[in-house]
C-alpha cells in the first residue's frame, strides 16, 4: 500500500503555487545540452526524466550567488546605513535530487553555528523540498560512497519515487511535506522498488586518514597539476558555501553584498602583503579535499560532500573530486 501522484498532479501543484505568486524551482532544460535548476514559469518547463541531474545545485535558492546584506547612503560627509527587507516569498523546490537535498542540513549548520544568518534561515523556513529519487546514475555519481543513496531521505520534505512513466510513489518525510501533499495523493497497491545506486568507490574514513597525514605528499602536486583554477566545481557543488563580502555602489549609495567565492581561485587566500599561503593550484586542490573530508568533519561531525558528481561533470579538464578520492582509495598515492 502506498500513495501516488501523477505528472498531471505535479503540474497542478506547480500551477497552483505559481498562481499564488509563490516561487517554484526545478530541473529544466534551458538549452540543448544544458539542464539546470531554475525558477519555473510553468509546469511544462519542469523536466522529470531522462537525465542524470542538473549541472547546478539547489543551494542557490537558499544561499544565492549574490545577496545584498544592507544598504548605505552617502550623506554629506557622513554615511547612513539601512536594513534591507528579508525574503518573504514561499518557494517550492520540486524534483530535486536527493544528493542536493542532503546538502541542505549541512548548509543549515554552516549558516547557524556561530551566528544565525537571518536571510538564509528565513529562506529555509519558506522552502519546501520535494525530491525525486534517482532512477539512473553515471560514472561521476558516488552518493553511495559518502553514505547516501538514490533515495536518501535527508533534507527532503517529500520524496517521489518513480513507478511507471508519469506516475510516482510519494513518501512524505516531514509535516511540511505532508501538508503540501494533502489532498493530492491517490492510494495505490504499487510500491516502488528501491533504485540501485552506483557502486561504492572509496571509503571516506580512509580519505580522511590520508589527508590528515599527507599534507606535504607529492600526490597533491601531480593531482593538481592540470587544474586551471576556475570555480566551476565549487559553484556547482551543493555543499560548497564560501562567500566574499564587498561594498558595491556608486558615488551616492550602495550596499554591502555577499557573493559566492571559491577556494580554487588564486586570489582566495591572497594577503594584502602579496603573500599567498596557498600559492599554487595543487595546494588549492588539497584544500578542497581536506576541507570536505577532514576539516569540516572535524568541526561538524560529517563530511561536506553528497556524492553528486557535479565537480567531475563540470570540470573543464576532467578532474573533479571523484578521481582524486578513488585514487586515494586505491592507494595509488603510495
Amino acid at each position: 500500500m502506498s500513495f501516488t501522484i501523477t505528472q498531471d498532479g505535479l503540474s497542478k501543484l506547480v500551477n497552483e503555487w505559481l498562481a499564488r505568486g509563490k516561487r517554484v524551482a526545478g530541473p529544466s532544460r534551458v538549452k540543448r545540452d544544458c539542464i539546470l535548476y531554475v525558477p519555473l514559469q510553468g509546469p511544462d518547463q519542469l523536466l522529470l526524466e531522462d537525465f542524470i541531474r542538473p549541472a547546478n545545485s539547489l543551494k542557490e535558492f537558499l544561499f544565492p550567488k549574490h545577496e545584498r546584506l544592507f544598504g548605505y547612503r552617502i550623506n554629506g560627509n557622513g554615511v547612513e546605513l539601512f536594513e534591507l527587507e528579508p525574503p518573504k516569498t514561499e518557494q517550492l523546490l520540486i524534483a530535486a535530487r536527493p544528493c542536493d537535498a542532503a546538502a541542505l542540513p549541512i548548509l543549515d549548520q554552516v549558516f547557524n553555528w556561530d551566528c544565525a544568518d537571518e536571510f538564509y534561515n528565513r529562506r529555509r523556513q519558506l522552502t519546501t523540498v520535494v525530491t525525486l529519487a534517482c532512477s539512473a546514475h553515471d560514472d561521476a555519481c558516488f552518493c553511495t560512497s559518502v553514505g547516501l543513496s538514490p533515495c536518501a531521505e535527508r533534507g527532503s520534505d517529500v520524496m517521489l519515487v518513480k513507478l511507471d512513466r508519469g506516475k510516482y510513489e510519494v513518501r512524505c518525510h516531514t509535516e511540511k511535506g505532508r501538508s503540501l501533499m494533502e489532498g493530492r495523493l491517490e492510494p495505490s497497491d504499487q510500491v516502488a522498488s528501491e533504485p540501485l545506486g552506483p557502486e561504492k568507490r572509496f571509503d571516506p574514513a580512509e580519505v580522511r586518514e590520508f589527508v590528515k597525514h599527507n599534507f606535504a605528499s607529492a600526490f597533491w602536486q601531480s593531482e593538481g597539476l592540470t587544474c586551471l583554477g576556475c570555480g566551476a566545481c565549487a559553484y556547482t557543488c551543493p555543499t560548497c558555501h564560501c562567500f566574499d563580502i564587498i561594498d558595491e555602489g556608486n558615488a551616492n549609495e550602495g550596499a554591502r553584498v555577499r557573493n559566492w567565492d571559491s577556494c580554487q581561485f588564486s586570489m582566495f587566500t591572497q594577503h594584502a602583503s602579496g603573500h599567498n599561503p596557498r600559492e599554487n593550484q595543487p595546494a588549492r586542490q588539497r584544500q578542497r579535499i581536506s576541507h570536505k573530508f577532514d576539516i569540516y568533519p572535524e568541526k561538524f561531525g560529517e563530511i561536506l560532500c553528497t556524492g553528486c558528481g557535479n565537480c567531475t561533470r563540470n570540470c573543464p579538464v576532467g578532474i573533479g573530486a571523484l578521481s582524486v578520492l578513488t585514487e586515494i582509495g586505491h592507494g595509488e598515492h603510495l
Binding site: 534551458v30 538549452k31 540543448r32 545540452d33 544544458c34 539546470l36 531554475v38 549541472a55 547546478n56 542557490e60 550567488k65 549574490h66 602536486q221 601531480s222 593538481g224 597539476l225 592540470t226 586551471l228 583554477g229 576556475c230 570555480g231 566551476a232 565549487a234 559553484y235 556547482t236 566574499d244 564587498i246 558595491e248 556608486n250 553584498v257 557573493n259 559566492w260 571559491s262 581561485f265 586570489m267 599554487n280 593550484q281 595543487p282 563540470n314 570540470c315 573543464p316 579538464v317 576532467g318 578532474i319 578521481s323
Partner: protein, 437 residues
Amino acid sequence: MNEAGQFEPKIVAYVCNWCTYLGADLAGTTRLEYPPNVRIIRLPCTGRIDFNLIVKAFEIGADAVLVSGCHPGDCHYTAGNYHARRRWILFRELLEALGFEMERIHFTWISAAEGRKWQQVVTEITEQTRKLGPYKNLYADTGNGSLPIPEAAPAVDQPAGSEGSLRQRCHQLLADGTVKVVIGYGTGGPVCVTKPADVGRLVWNNQCSSNLTTYLKRQEVRKLGRAAIVVKVCDERALVVLEKESQLDRKDLHVMGMACNGMGQPKCATCDVRVPRFADEVIGEVASVPLAGPPNAAPRGGAALEVLLAKSPAERMACWAREFERCVKCYACRQVCPLCYCERCIVEKNRPTVIDPSPTVKGNFAWHITRAFHLAGRCIGCDECTRACPAGIDLRLLNLSLAKAAEEHFGYRAGINRDVEPLIGAYSLQDKENFIR
C-alpha cells in the same frame, strides 16, 4: 525627469583635452547655446578612452554616450585618435552583437575651432535621445530571447596510428631529455607526462577537442621545465598569438602538431586549417575526407551568428540578458582560455572597480563584454570558454562577432600569420570611420 515630468536625457561625453574640450570652450566663448544635458569628462586624449568607460557610463544610467576627439592628423599626441578609432570599429561590432541601441553611442571628431559643431552635435544628440526616451532596454530581458544554437560538424575518426606514433615520439623526447614534460590528452582530460614510462597515458582520438595551450600560462606546469605540447592546428593559432604577445619563446617549447580530421565540434564545421604549419613535428596525415565547411572559410559564425545578428537589437539584448542571468562568475571561461593570461584579471582590480564582481546581470554584462573585447583580434576560436561554461552560456557568438569584424574591417585573423602585428596596439590611416561624425 524635470519638474514638469518631462524626460531629460543624461548624456556622458568623454572628450579629449586638446581638440573637443577646446571646441566646447569655443562654443562657450562664442555663446552658442545648447541643451544642458551633457556632462563632459575631460581626458588627455581619445587614445585614453577605453571601452570600459563607455560601458560604465551606461551602467550609471546614461541615456547616451558621446566620445569625441581630434580629427585624424590633428592628435596632440600624434596617433591616440587612430588607436581609439580602431578600437571603436571593433567595439561597435561587439555592442551590435549584444543588442545595444547603437543610436545612443556617438563618435565625433570636433576640433578646437569647431565650437559650432560641438553645439550642433550636443543639440542633436540631446534631441535624438529625448525622442528615444530613457534607456530602459539596457541589459533587459524583454522576452523572446533565445540564442541560436550552432550546428556541430559530424565526428570523424582520427588518423589511424597517430596515437602510437605520438606515444613513441614522446617516449623519445622524454628519454633523451629534449623535454621534461609532455602536455597531452589523456582519458578524461589533459595530462602532464613527465616519465617515459607513463606515455601510455597519452591518447589521440576524437575526444581531443580541448586546447592544451592554456597550460603554457600555468606556473605549476612551467616549473616542470621545457615542455612538449600536443596541439591541433586550430590550437596552434594560440601559440602564434602568445608569441606575438611575448608570452612564450618558441625555443622553450616543442610543438607536436597533430594532423586532425575534426573533433565534431561547431568550430570544426568552419575549420579551414587542418595540417600544422609551424609545429616542430607533425604526427599523422589528414584523411582526404572533405571538410564540412568550405575551404578557406573565414571564421565566420556560420548560421548561428547570422541568425543572432538578424534579430532586432532588443531581441539580441534579451538573448544575452537571459544567458548572463545564469552566469555564476566561476570564471571557467577565463581560466580555460589560452589567451587570458593576466596574473591579476581586471575583474579582480578594485581601485577602481571597473567591473562589478557580483554575478548580477549588470556585473555579468560588464564581465562578458570585457572578456570578449579583450580577445578582440586575438581570439582564435577554440571555443573552450563555451565548452567550459557550467551554465551553458554560448560565449562563442561574442568571440565570433569580433572575429568577423576583425576580418571584415582589417582583413585580420588572429594567429594565422606570425609576421603580422597584433590588431590592437596598431592602426592604419585607412581604418574606416564612416560611423564617426
